[in-house]
Symmetry: C2
Subunit: 437 residues, 2 copies
Amino acid sequence: MTEAPLTVDDVRGIWPILSTNERVEAFQQVERAESGTFFLGLSAHEQVEILLSLPRGERRLWFRLLPPDDTADVVQHAPDDEREGLLELLDPPTRREVTALLAYAEDAAGGLMSPRFARLRPEMSVGEAIRYLQRQAQEKLETIYYAYVLDREQRLCGVVSFRDLFSAQPGKSIAEVMRTEVVSVPDTMEDEEVARVIARHNLDALPVVDEDGRMKGIVTIDDIVHVVQEAATEDIQKLGGMEALETPYMQTRLVDMIKKRAGWLSALFLGELLTASAMAHYEDRIARAVVLALFLPLIMSSGGNSGGQATTLIIRAMALGEITMGDWWRIVRRELTAGLALGIILATIGAVRVVAWQGLFHSYGEHYLLVAATVATSLVGVVTWGTLAGSMLPFVIRRFGFDPASASAPFVATLVDVTGLIIYFNAAELVLGGSLL
Amino acid sequence: MTEAPLTVDDVRGIWPILSTNERVEAFQQVERAESGTFFLGLSAHEQVEILLSLPRGERRLWFRLLPPDDTADVVQHAPDDEREGLLELLDPPTRREVTALLAYAEDAAGGLMSPRFARLRPEMSVGEAIRYLQRQAQEKLETIYYAYVLDREQRLCGVVSFRDLFSAQPGKSIAEVMRTEVVSVPDTMEDEEVARVIARHNLDALPVVDEDGRMKGIVTIDDIVHVVQEAATEDIQKLGGMEALETPYMQTRLVDMIKKRAGWLSALFLGELLTASAMAHYEDRIARAVVLALFLPLIMSSGGNSGGQATTLIIRAMALGEITMGDWWRIVRRELTAGLALGIILATIGAVRVVAWQGLFHSYGEHYLLVAATVATSLVGVVTWGTLAGSMLPFVIRRFGFDPASASAPFVATLVDVTGLIIYFNAAELVLGGSLL
């Protein structure tokens, strides 16, 4: 670390590769005017890292800078034995707000919302509302640009944007100018679904209500960017055949990362052990025609690759809400056609390869045409089957209540490998029976 | 299609599975009050689909509802021969705005921005500015909540939030209350980078400037949600071993989808053909010890799976900006350790399996301990190598200027398959030479 003062951009550039101690040191060297924005832009995980390394006085200062929804996130990301200590740094009203938020699951609408929204009464005039919001402008509200109209039981009856207020006649009542068809979500809704609602309705802020219809907070679109980003990262990691990491790659301890990877890798390995058993069944056939073994990796990987494509497409389309469980039969028809077409393409390349190598190197003996036919037939079978199995697996997994993203490409490949080699050896039996076999 | 009027939620529920004609019909049945929001919430691709199916009068009405950045998106998504016709539906000033936006690449900041932002002069008073913004509230500005302070050459000199204005003394000048450290981006910046800037600085809106520093527009955070979502979808599809689709799965024509998949599938197949050549090299060894063939799929898939995990992790971390090119050496050390640990875990399972099956079924003859040793040794080698290769491939691909997401798990698996079988047969030679071989 150099002694010259660091700019915030310097720190951003090297941030990902710094150790915790280096981060705290760098953070403390940033100019005060800039470090606030910098701190607010960090992930909850990084904020915890910094806060817990600062002396108590500084820790309080920075912790109190966070809005209540982010404060709750930080407490949730902190180690169990630090949570109480962090909560004690807050002033009593904020502590009450944050404690209420902590009752929600982190990935629910309630865990995402801010309780600090602007409230209006339906009988207020537009002029009164503007003056009220003007007084609130310096308060810690999440936004003053959307104000929610609540009745005496705190039930949501309408919404007005500041822009609407500003262009309305000051004498009108809020009840006259508010929009009454308000989209709201229950506090228990899962965060990815909240993101979909916000995107679908083109909203900047979305009110959250409890089971009695009382408004509890708002989720703003900037919270959603993180949700979308994190959901995609989790899905990508699951699709890569491992458990999702809880922290960024570079900040994940090596032993934790190995654990996240070893579980699925071992499960896939156990599944793949079935290939050894299946192969044993065909051992005598390989002994009679070693040429069969040559094409085995090729056939099996083609099934896995085509299945991986199909499963990836379906899982992503499901995550985006483009397809639902009811669409499975359409998908079967679509993927069956696609699988056949892809199988025929690969079969053609495979057959050409066998015939060409025979012409060039006389690699496959007198029965080379039959070998080519075996390779081509099994490619059509394996690719069609791989594609179909890959597209249906996410439906099956979801049907049993699990996350379809667990139907990773390697999972599909493992499933398809055993069936792939059964298809291959049966095709060989059919085509080569009586000649090579 | 039923004759009863549809609610907008009905339409949303069935939307993904409707044909174009059914969509248009459903859209026209939605109540006018709701269909505007619904239309604005559709993707550019879907907006084109609807617009081009409507009669000319209605088409103009809906097309003019879109803000200029979305209008430009629609024109870009329309077939070439329809673009001129769409532009003619606009009033002349909007057409000029949209034509200016069309000069930018769709995935650049300039293609994402809205030119309709609120402008202030530094010498205005706070009171004047508020009155000015109030007059603009009903105009088609993207937002009145952030106003940008420009000098006479249209260069950006500061920003004020409406909230700041509202709590400032009306007599002060804008120059006194504006913030001068404004984050802005060049109009040529790629959209994913724009998303990172907005997230990192916790912004609701980001000004875009041309090469002379003149302000051209703003990108708002709601534009970014789509960018993040689409970027993740593209990466996921590439990681699944295919080209990214341009349209949602269900709306992609089957022939286009097969093309997107066949390219990579054939390339992977050609790569995998090398395994057939490599296998031919070891043909006599397989003939001597058929037991070797039994474990081949197991060993090869383990290399592919471990490589796929590593490459997925690195590609996602790169996309999120968590790691940069300079980190490659740290990654090598990390992944080498992880690969060794994972290899030892799988080797243990593999060896136990061979010994257990020998005990239960006498499957592997007198040299079963040597077979177990061969399997275990090659698993350590293949998994370590797969992990290392998988983690470095994204760096290599990026070094050559391509998208690291092309280093898909199947690509890595194919690379690792050939080397995997070389490792396996050499380990066999080493361990079994003189006994089985």
